[in-house]
Amino acid sequence: MASVSAASVAFRALSKPPLKSNETSRLKIVSLGWRKNGFPSLRSSRLHVSCAQAKPETVDKVCEIVRKQLALPAEADLTPESKFSAIGADSLDTVEIVMALEEEFGISVEEESSQNITTVQEAADLIEKLVQKKPEA
């Protein structure tokens, strides 16, 4: 039942590019549920949508924290697409980054999802999702 109502939300969202952030957030959570139930064809669309997703403030904040955590020089290039590995972060750094993000945003990132984060954008998307799940955690 849940997935049926979810489907209508998602399709509406997908067919109309200009979205309110509330709508998109629902879409993200919903399609995650789908992933569990196994709708492989939808997986790519989720990723596509969530790429254009996290608010710029979130992305900026993530960038700032990543810079601080890795002690990157101010002139170093850091875009949302930057891979952590490309900017010199090893897996331990990634753990530190995720921990710092958790504290900054007052969220708790699950072990498994944190290991799948490889870019600033992915981190920002995940944060956005978690922040919306529990507003004042």
Partner: protein, 100 residues
């Protein structure tokens, strides 16, 4: 959830190490800011040192380090513990500073 798009696959052992590292950093959060900074730096340098020095195929030794680390983490989680100095972790080359 199997996030099937992760480009880098971590081995089970690597995941254990990262989980342990996360555990240490989490435990350190509950300490005073000063203790925490000290713990963070000791833990971070210890993990990094072993990451560079230990042969990644030396499973027995890594397992030993994991077990040892878990015990140390349990001790650290106790509210009475304020530092890791009792574990004499710090490499001799690096003076971590004040000991308690």
């Amino acid at each position: 959830m199997g996030g099937g798009n992760a480009p880098r696959r971590l081995s089970g052992m690597q995941k254990q190490v990262l989980a342990l590292y996360r555990g240490f950093l989490r435990a350190a959060r509950s300490k005073s800011p000063d203790d925490r900074r000290r713990i963070d730096s000791v833990v971070s340098s210890e993990f990094r040192r072993n990451a560079h020095q230990v042969d990644r195929k030396n499973f027995l030794y890594i397992e030993y380090l994991l077990r040892r680390g878990k015990k140390q983490l349990d001790q650290l989680k106790s509210p009475d513990t304020t530092g890791l100095s009792s574990l004499s972790f710090a490499p001799p080359s690096q003076s971590v500073g004040s000991h308690k």
